[in-house]
């Protein structure tokens, strides 16, 4: 990897510029309420400066176009370039949200088609496309849950149940809606403990939030019974769509009894993500919640439209039959990696997983930690898996290979993971001192958190 660490401000030279504009017709306005007192402190650079700067920065990046990216819970599948072609069509990119309705027929057809496709895939009735990310979708979904209960005059429901294996966003979303969080425990096999759930249910429960398969990559087999119990006490079921990938075309949350869900289009439906976006977290609802869903049929503001375009392109490209293969291959790949490494890494839950699984550190750590393993992987050219999540296991390594990887890539990863296990036994210093090949070694995360430097200062 080529090392490049300049800030664009360091390239700035007074008066240098990459453009020339004609003089404003009728002269520039002078003064006025919105007139700024001093020129903005922007970098002054030429066009080649800009192009080389960002090209150099991009070469320090690691993405799914560079290599294997088994970041658990993030579904870093390959993003087909056809998606990009569709999203770049000028008929879509040239639109303005406020242009006349009669001139946006095509875009509205995209919404309608995507709505129908997602409803067919999930078993939900309708979707809203406004939420711009998974967590945004969760918040929207929980607000819908609240509206549902309040709209029925049911004011007593103040609690939301969340499993101890849940993504952190689940309790956060519920708390943002004013709900008290009640945690339901998992059994030793990693699934929600139905017996622990029963006494928590009552007239004060607004609903339960579940991820299925859960964050350990395990299918919640008791979901039908859980749905009956929760509905029986008057609560709703929320489906966190983060792990929808293995279910594509195989099973539908709507059929399991879920009432509200969000999907992460950027994960499951193959649009570029990481580094903060852009995401899209449409929320779908069942028949009973449908009256509370705000579906804007006219407004031009629908969230991240080009992400939706890419998702629709992906769904249509695969079609009904092939989309079934996506989930199945993701499951096959995860189980292949898991079974190939379980004699080197501690596998706390040995059952068949879905799209991802969790190791609890090395079997013979010899003084090394999961962090050391993850850092050493960088030296071998792989992105590290998710580490220290879920919190159920203290040395968690969460691996999600996705369906788009070839057997050769998986085998190369397995070989390196085995080699690292061997290094831990024979030469643990190699792990402690990793990464050696990355432009930055180990950042001081503690100091960064305690004394963050949040802006550039010359």
């Amino acid at each position: 990897m080529k090392y490049y660490d300049k800030l664009i401000f360091e390239l700035s030279r007074p008066g240098r510029t990459g453009f020339s504009l004609p003089a404003a017709e009728g002269g520039m306005p002078v003064g006025g309420k919105l007139w700024r007192g001093s020129a903005p402190e922007l970098p002054e650079v030429s066009e080649p400066d800009v192009v080389r700067h960002y090209t150099n920065l991009s070469q320090m990046n690691f993405g799914v176009d560079t290599g294997f990216y088994p970041l658990g819970s993030c579904t870093m599948k390959y993003n087909p370039k056809l998606n990009e072609e569709i999203a770049a069509m000028p008929g879509f990119t040239g639109q303005h949200p406020l242009q006349p309705k009669e001139s946006t027929e095509g875009s509205r057809a995209v919404f309608e088609e995507l709505d129908k496709a997602l409803a067919a895939i999930t078993g939900m009735k309708r979707f809203t496309f406004r939420p711009c990310a998974g967590a945004h979708g969760e918040l929207t979904g929980l607000m819908l849950m609240k509206e549902y209960h309040l709209g029925r005059g049911d004011l007593a429901r103040t609690k939301v149940i969340v499993p101890d294996s849940a993504h952190g966003t689940n309790p956060a979303s519920a708390a943002c809606c004013g709900y008290e969080i009640v945690v339901v425990k998992s059994k030793a096999d990693g699934l929600v403990d139905v017996e622990d759930l029963k006494p928590l249910l009552g007239p004060d429960i607004a609903g339960i939030m579940m991820t299925n398969p859960n964050t350990l990559g395990l299918f919640e087999k008791d979901i039908k019974e859980i749905a009956e119990l929760v509905h029986g006490c008057g609560g709703l079921l929320y489906y966190d769509g983060a792990n929808m990938n293995p279910l594509l075309g195989v099973a539908r949350p709507g059929d399991m009894g879920f009432d509200i869900l969000h999907l992460n289009l950027h994960k499951t439906f193959s649009t570029p993500h990481g580094g903060g976006g852009p995401g899209s977290g449409p929320v779908g609802v069942s028949e009973r919640v449908l009256p509370y869903l705000d579906i804007p049929h006219v407004s031009g503001f629908h969230g991240n439209f080009t992400v939706m375009l890419r998702a629709l392109a992906y769904i249509l490209m695969l079609g009904r039959e092939n989309i079934r293969m996506a989930g199945r291959l993701a499951t096959l790949n995860a189980n292949y990696v898991k079974e190939s490494l379980k004699d080197c890494y501690r596998l706390p839950i040995p059952s068949v997983c879905k799209h991802e699984f969790v190791f609890d550190g090395l079997l013979e750590p010899n003084g090394t930690t999961t962090l050391d393993v993850a850092k050493r992987l960088l030296d071998y050219g792989f992105h590290a898996p998710t580490i220290y999540f879920p919190l159920l296991f203290h040395q968690a390594i969460m691996i999600e290979p996705t369906e788009t990887e070839s057997p050769e890539t998986l085998d190369a990863f397995i070989e390196v993971m085995r080699k690292i296990a061997e290094e831990a036994r024979t030469d643990p210093g190699l792990l402690h001192s990793a990464p050696r090949t990355a432009p930055v070694g180990r950042p001081d995360e503690t100091r960064a958190a305690r004394q963050p430097i949040l802006k550039y200062e010359a």
């Binding site: 220290y388 919190l391 203290h394 995360e445 503690t446 958190a449 305690r450």
Partner: protein, 125 residues
């Protein structure tokens, strides 16, 4: 091996309690701080907040994760260790001198359900 101090009481969720008359001084154990790693922030309640035993009343955040602080006894907060706002690392340096809150107990009998040093040592194994 984590440090355990004789004479303190411990909860199964790794808080320690020092009894001072009717006041319970609460912190997190050495085991808890070592599991959390470098602590970056302590979320504390306000004085006069009231809690029941088992309520979570704050959180300890580290680079790696975040852990809730569970009230080992019921009562009213009478003091918070404001020094931790600027220096959360004090918990890493000595978990047993870096107390987090002082709680005026409303039911001293709850102390009976906490663990003594040897029972806590057994819990950690």
């Amino acid at each position: 091996m984590s440090k355990i101090v004789d004479g303190l009481l411990y909860s199964e969720s790794h808080e320690w309690v020092k009894v001072d008359g009717n006041v319970a001084i609460v912190g997190i154990s050495d085991y808890a701080q070592s599991e959390l790693g470098d602590i970056t922030y302590v979320d504390m309640p306000e004085p006069d907040d009231e809690f029941k035993a088992g309520d979570d009343f704050g959180a300890v955040e580290s680079v790696k994760t975040s852990g809730e602080i569970i009230a080992p006894v019921s009562g009213k907060v009478v003091a918070c260790n404001t020094e931790l706002a600027e220096h959360p690392e004090l918990i890493n340096e000595d978990a047993y001198s870096a107390w987090i809150v002082k709680i005026e107990m409303s039911d001293r009998s709850e102390l009976d359900s906490l663990l003594n040093a040897s029972a806590y040592a057994k819990l950690l194994g």
